[in-house]
């Protein structure tokens, strides 16, 4: 007898989708999540008390608890050591879970129900067809119906225009980019971001509604806290920014077939030799992060959606068969970050406004897509996050000790410290920043391994290695030039290129690649009934677009394949 039809490991961008789809198909699903659950009656104080064990009831969701925790203050929310959002145990008295990085960088990943989508900026573009067709083992056309289903479920909508988007469009148009009104991007151009954010509240511009009132109604209020944890909405499942915590998880609970256990770190995949199937997954061993107790659960199938680092770690720590590609082929869009500082008088002339208002609107609302090269998207953050991403986080070292080469399109290249930093930060409200996502070449050497010596309570810990190829760096440099040009055309007086460290890991992908580790159903070649439903199963970095929607489309498809193959 099994405990469930399916066990899902992880409840982030992919796992929550698989759980909801499988629950809707009538299967009994158990989800194990390493981190806390925010906004559930079973865990009224999730960061300081153990609370309950399981929740399977939609009525357990509690927007009061959710809003009390998600207060949008950036140090409280986003501090990767001690914040509400971190990769670590729910108990905030304890340290985060460590990964070994012997290079500059930071892994922006979260534990908790909703996973990293709790703070993602909700960009939900499709892959570039150019990066899928004749490269992936499946075609772009094969993905389209699943993209449509995920887009309708979240739902995805083009971002509204606020001052920073208006300025971005103005610059992009002047730089010669055409508008591309499409979801299937085959030619370069600019467009609003397809974002998983509810449309703006229809009463937002009506002064007879107070902003306080509006923030407790349905619809985005442009409060600019996507990255700090969105709190606009009337109930948990109506929160404006559609993290899976507020989109797919409530839908999964509504099926009546899904139970989720937070604070449960899966440390081992259980397998058995089946006379017909050979080696097959039979369940998991997990550790309660509050009590340290080890539990075991069994199921007919297992879906691994622990993320690009933990999925390969779990495979390796479970002693599963050797596969040279497990943990290999890591891509991360080799980010860069370019910012432009504007003069008030120029902004008045262009927009009739004295500032860029980087804190208003979606965290990121507009982009230029360039298939074959990558993307640059306007992305503005709260001051603490903005200060370090713009001035404190660099592969290039200190600007003052190593100024830009003559003729470079940027005035500053690398870190800024001292009086100059303070001066620049006084211009925060007149600064527009742009995130660069590179079409990152997939290389065998870029990888996640486990340390032969170092362990935490969950087993040998991951080590990260990532060095971009010359081709990736060339594309990244080209994108930084395009972004600088758009800022200059928009009227920026000073351009800063951060030269973000290569180890900045937000869009991790392709460490358990389809075609190498799994078949086209996302089932592991060497372990039957073990499916993968996170970014790790991508064949490559999808050409640069933000990866979540592709994972959600694939997870929708994988759920269908599981039902067809094992439960029909």
């Amino acid at each position: 007898m099994f405990d469930a039809d399916v066990i899902v490991i992880g409840s982030g961008g992919g796992g929550a989708v698989a759980a909801k789809e499988l629950g809707e198909a009538g299967l009994k699903v158990l989800v194990l999540e390493a981190g806390p659950w925010y906004g559930n009656k079973q865990w009224a104080n999730p960061n300081s008390e153990r609370g309950g064990e399981w929740s399977s009831d939609y009525k357990d969701l509690d927007v009061g608890i959710y809003k009390k925790i998600f207060n949008a203050y950036e140090n409280n929310m986003n501090d990767l050591v001690s914040g509400v959002f971190r990769f670590g145990p729910a108990d905030r008295r304890r340290t985060p879970w460590h990964r070994v990085m012997r290079q500059k960088g930071e892994i922006w990943q979260l534990s908790g129900v909703g996973g990293t989508t709790q703070l993602y900026w909700s960009q939900s573009p499709r892959a570039f067809p150019l990066a899928v067709d004749n490269i992936w083992p499946i075609s772009y056309r094969e993905l389209i119906p699943y993209y449509e289903k995920a887009e309708a479920t979240l739902p995805v909508q083009f971002a509204p225009t606020t001052p920073k988007e208006e300025l971005f469009y103005y610059g992009a148009k002047k730089a010669g980019w055409p508008l591309i009104p499409t979801l299937n991007v085959t030619t370069p151009g600019y467009r609003p971001n397809p974002n998983a954010i509810l449309p703006t509240n229809e009463h937002l511009m009506d002064q007879s509604y107070s902003l306080e009132q509006l923030s407790n109604m349905e619809g985005c209020t442009l409060k600019g806290n996507c990255v700090n944890g969105c709190t606009t909405g009337s109930s948990v499942d109506k929160i404006a920014k559609r993290s899976t915590l507020v989109s797919y998880v409530p839908l999964a609970l509504k099926t009546g077939n899904v139970a989720i256990r937070p604070n449960s770190f899966v440390i081992k995949l259980l397998t058995a030799q089946d006379p017909k199937e050979g080696l097959r997954a039979t369940g998991v061993q997990f550790r309660d992060t509050w009590t340290g107790e080890i539990g075991e659960l069994t199921a007919r199938t297992v879906v691994m959606a622990a993320g690009c680092i933990e999925s390969p770690r779990l495979w390796l720590n479970s002693g599963l068969p050797y596969n040279e590609w497990v943990g290999r082929g890591l891509t991360n869009h080799c980010f860069d970050w370019v910012a432009g500082v504007f003069d008030e008088k120029d902004l008045m002339r262009i927009m009739g406004l004295p500032a860029v208002y980087p804190y208003a609107g979606h965290t990121s609302g507009a982009r230029v897509d360039i298939p074959g090269t990558g993307i640059f998207q306007v992305s503005c953050l709260s001051p603490g996050l903005m200060s370090f991403l713009t001035y404190g986080f660099s592969e290039a070292g200190y600007d003052a000790l190593n100024p830009p080469e003559p003729g470079a399109p940027w005035d500053i290249h690398g870190r800024v410290v001292g009086p100059q930093l303070k001066e620049l930060m006084m211009n925060y409200s007149r600064t527009m920043s742009i995130l660069i996502l590179t079409d990152d070449e997939t290389l065998y050497r870029n990888r996640v391994q486990v340390d032969p010596l170092l362990k935490d309570e969950n087993g040998p810990i991951p080590i990260m290695y990532y060095t971009p190829s010359p081709k990736t760096l060339k594309r990244r440099d080209q994108l930084a030039r395009y972004a600088s040009e758009t800022l200059k055309q928009a009227g920026a007086r000073k351009i800063i290129r951060s030269d973000t460290p290569f180890g900045s890991m937000i869009h991790l992908e392709s460490t358990m690649r389809m075609g190498y580790v799994t078949d086209t159903n996302c089932e592991a070649y060497q372990v039957r009934r073990l499916f993968i439903a996170d970014n790790s199963v991508h064949f490559n970095g999808i050409g640069g677009p933000n990866p979540t929607l592709t994972t959600q489309a694939l997870a929708t498809r994988t759920a269908e394949k599981i039902v067809t193959k094992y439960f029909s």
């Binding site: 140090n75 001690s82 979801l183 509006l214 442009l222 001051p383 870190r415």
Partner: protein, 219 residues
């Protein structure tokens, strides 16, 4: 007494002074001029960001050692790293300004000028030092050293320009027990309005997806 208050009292004075020297080099106080109010001149040391950095480094790492999970505080060894770097810079005659002899004994990094402190960070970051002379866990590990130098820069900025300093007397408590006591000074410096329920900033929509009967069109 709250554990965090006890913790704050246990940090040794060398570590404290070294981190103070670090954060004031990265975000100095500006000279008071007629154009700026005193609040606008406050630097990272005025906002106690050195305490934040020490707290962060002492609460960031646990590994299984011997019988169980052990917290590994990193602030003291990281202060040691900066001081070894300062000695190396002085010994190799690369200081731009003579160090303050009164402070040299207690901590070379605090005794050198702000610009020289940044040169120490750059030297460690570039690995222009014999990795065998660095204190553990940095000894013979230039990769981890490089990671840490980057962390020291960005986390100082994140601590300074986030709301952390406004937790005032509760700033060193466990995060769930901190309380905001005033509006963050650094947010005033950046002209950030703080956390608000929304902005009436809608200028329209460039494109819209319309979904009907399973079909979607873009208008």
């Amino acid at each position: 007494m709250h554990p965090s208050a006890i913790y704050a009292a246990t940090v040794d004075s060398h570590t404290f002074a070294t981190f103070r020297a670090l954060v004031e080099a990265i975000i100095p106080d500006s000279p008071v001029s007629a154009t700026y109010s005193p609040e606008l001149t406050a630097g990272a040391a005025d906002l106690c960001i050195h305490e934040y950095m020490i707290w962060e480094l002492d609460h960031s790492l646990s590994l299984v050692l011997g019988f169980g999970l052990t917290d590994i505080p990193l602030s003291c060894s990281t202060a040691g790293l900066l001081n070894v770097g300062a000695v190396h810079l002085a010994a190799s005659r690369q200081l731009q300004h003579p160090p303050n002899p009164l402070l040299w004994e207690s901590g070379p990094f605090t005794a050198i000028s702000r610009n020289d402190r940044i040169s120490v960070l750059a030297m460690l970051e570039q690995g222009n030092i014999d990795p065998g002379v660095l204190p553990p866990p940095y000894r013979n590990d230039l990769g981890f050293t490089r990671y840490m130098i980057d962390f020291l820069n960005r986390q100082t900025m994140f601590g300074n320009y986030s709301e952390w300093s406004a937790y005032g007397t509760t700033r060193l408590r466990t995060p769930t027990e901190r309380r905001l006591e005033y509006f963050p000074v650094s947010w005033k410096q950046a002209e950030y309005p703080g956390v608000v329920p929304g902005y009436r900033a809608l200028l329209g929509y460039m494109l819209t997806i319309e979904r009907k009967g399973g079909e979607s069109t873009i208008v």
